[in-house]
């Protein structure tokens, strides 16, 4: 007999969690402890040698965090996950398992500005060389592939432009090149897009945004799809060769289709150290329980606001993939049929000054550098998140000087629209 498989909303509440063994506590407890006692010397040795499953030290793993990891792995359809201190920590921890000094990775030009900075400066100093490609022209990914390419990195829905990426087309390039496709799924969340279903090998999130959803905790996560064969051509020795720090264990051979997540934990997190606090894991877990409801409402509100702005005389253009006629509308229908997300940009006929005025006149929207909150948020990327980029890079990243980014919250949509209305009148 084949069992009935639970749906997304059930997984968002239950996956990974189970009443506490000692107290029976139904909600996941916050295991606010640095360390865990061993049963005996042999148990300790088994844990350190990766022979047994279990807890050692919260830098490497924690029971509250493990519930979060399993839950996100389940929602994304992956084999395992590793939660870390931030979205940026997820990026460096994941790429550290794949790249050696002198290696390259291809990244979509349309990315969160902080990721462009991280790749351009910090990663360059590690000898990891980013090669930029244009997600609107797949051939630029193909022509960027060299024998040193170790990964391809894209965002499913790009920040700040809100454009939808053709994940399957770029996955085909990655397959042909024999490298994993890494998808930052922060803006979509697994409720709107499950990149693994479209060929992603690794999925990353800044859980700071929609997974947590309440603007209260920084966190990141790495999901292993279990789809990539790391041993095929010796390109990924971290996974295929004996690890000296673990007495010669070969990670893929030992851990099979969740070896990448294990490598990120027992090498990346252990050595780079960007562990998430159990308290943040707890808050994000609580947020995930309502992810389906929140994403539905985010999308409904965003579409209503985008439609209203499109008809406003002061507005030059609205870039929301959920609108008919938008350049990314077909991709949005294919990849995100439940909705194109909460984030979009628009430009004002009054240019840079009108953008700055709008931001200062809004009363309900908060002017800040985050997205994916219950609250509606606004920012002028050119003067904030993307200010370190030069003008050409700003435009390429979808953050031109006249552009305003909104992250639509869960307030009544009439109130959100009324706030924009009064601010645009001033």
């Amino acid at each position: 007999m084949t069992e009935r498989l639970p749906g997304f909303a059930t997984l968002a509440i239950h996956a990974g969690a189970q009443p506490d063994p000692t107290t029976g506590a139904r909600n996941t407890p916050i295991y606010q402890t640095t360390s865990f006692v061993f049963n005996d010397a042999d148990h300790a040795a088994s844990l350190f040698g990766l022979q047994a499953f279990g807890n050692i030290y919260t830098r490497i793993g924690n029971p509250t965090t493990a519930v979060l990891e399993e839950r996100v792995a389940a929602l994304e359809g992956g084999t395992a996950a590793l939660a870390v201190a931030s979205g940026h920590a997820a990026q460096v921890t994941a790429l550290q398992q794949l790249l050696r000094p002198g290696d390259e990775f291809i990244a979509a030009r349309k990315l969160y500005g902080g990721s462009i900075n991280q790749f351009t400066h910090a990663f360059k100093s590690f000898g990891w060389n980013v090669v930029w490609a244009d997600p609107d022209d797949i051939s630029t990914f193909e022509s960027a592939v060299t024998p040193r390419t170790k990964a391809i990195f894209i965002e499913s829905i790009a920040n700040p432009s809100g454009s939808v990426t053709d994940i399957e087309a770029i996955s085909a390039v990655a397959r042909k090149a024999g490298v994993p496709l890494i998808v930052d799924n922060t803006l979509a969340s697994p409720y709107l897009i499950r990149p693994i279903d479209h060929g992603a090998d690794i999925v990353l999130h800044s859980m700071t945004k929609f997974l947590g959803g309440h603007g209260n905790s920084i966190g990141g996560i790495i999901v292993d799809a279990g789809t990539f064969d790391w041993s095929r051509d010796n390109k990924y020795p971290v996974l295929s060769e004996p690890r000296p720090e673990y007495h010669g264990i070969k990670l893929q051979e030992t851990f099979g289709n969740f070896a990448f997540a294990i490598a990120c934990r027992v090498l990346g997190l252990r050595d780079l150290g960007a562990a998430i606090s159990p308290f943040n894991s707890f808050l994000i877990l609580t947020g995930i329980e309502t992810l389906p409801l929140r994403m539905q409402k985010h999308c409904e509100n965003a579409k209503a606001v985008a439609e209203w702005l499109s008809a406003h005389p002061a507005v030059a253009s609205v870039n929301y993939a959920g609108l008919a006629g938008n350049r990314y509308n077909n991709l949005a229908r294919k990849y995100a049929p439940k909705g194109a997300g909460a984030l979009f940009t628009f430009t004002l006929k009054g240019g840079y000054d009108a953008g700055v005025n709008l931001v200062s006149n809004l009363r309900l929207f908060s002017h800040l550098a985050n997205i994916g909150d219950t609250r509606s948020l606004v920012i002028h990327p050119a003067s904030t998140t993307h200010s370190q980029l030069d003008d050409a890079q700003k435009i390429q990243a979808g953050a031109g000087p006249d552009l305003v980014r909104l992250s639509i919250g869960l307030e009544d949509k009439e109130d959100i629209i009324a706030d924009l209305d009064q601010a645009l009148r001033q």
Binding site: M1, T2, E3, L5, P6, T10, L11, H14, A15, G16, Q18, P19, D20, P21, T22, G24, N39, H43, G49, L50, Q51, A52, F53, G54, N55, G61, P63, A66, V67, E69, E70, A73, A74, G77, G78, T79, A80, A81, L82, A83, G226, T227, F228, D229, W230, S231, R232, Y246, H247, G248, I249, Q252, E253, T254, F255, G256, N257, F258, A261, R265
Partner: protein, 194 residues
Amino acid sequence: MNHDTYDDNYIRGILNGVKTIAMVGASPVNVRPSYFAFKYLAQRGYDMIPVNPGQVGKSLVGKPFVASLRDIGRPIDMVDIFRNSSVALSLVEEALTLDPLPKVIWMQLGVRNDEAAAKAEAAGLKVVMNRCPKIEYGRLSSEISWMGVNSRTLSSKRAPIPTQGMRLSLNRVSFGGGDTSAADRAAQGKKDPT
């Protein structure tokens, strides 16, 4: 029977039903996957027998090695094959000479031999290929969740307190059918998985 994916109930039935497991190709080297799996299954209460002709005279976590399945001299429920796919057929043929017959042939992660599987199934044995019993046990009991691994199961019952040597409940609701195809692809052209 389809050997690309397995229903959780099928795996659960096997792991709940067998008691005595002969592991062919068990290694005494404590960083090899076979050593990990052997020790783990012994701690979970299975009666484990290491089979490796090169190690006779030594023992593995206190259990003496035997040279072949025929040398075990008592009934076994399951043969766990930790050897190259190409020798799986001759190992199944050897297992089919045992009296009583074992109930299950399990081929380890990376090991798959469809001809051997067909032969065992024709004799009424259950077969699992390209899976690790340690990982499956950890997954179905959710113990593996401590490593952030997706157990693909749910439970609203109080979790058992983990102690050494206990048998964990494998009885959880499943939410994912089988495995991904990566392990299968990785299995192509693999050498001895011990």
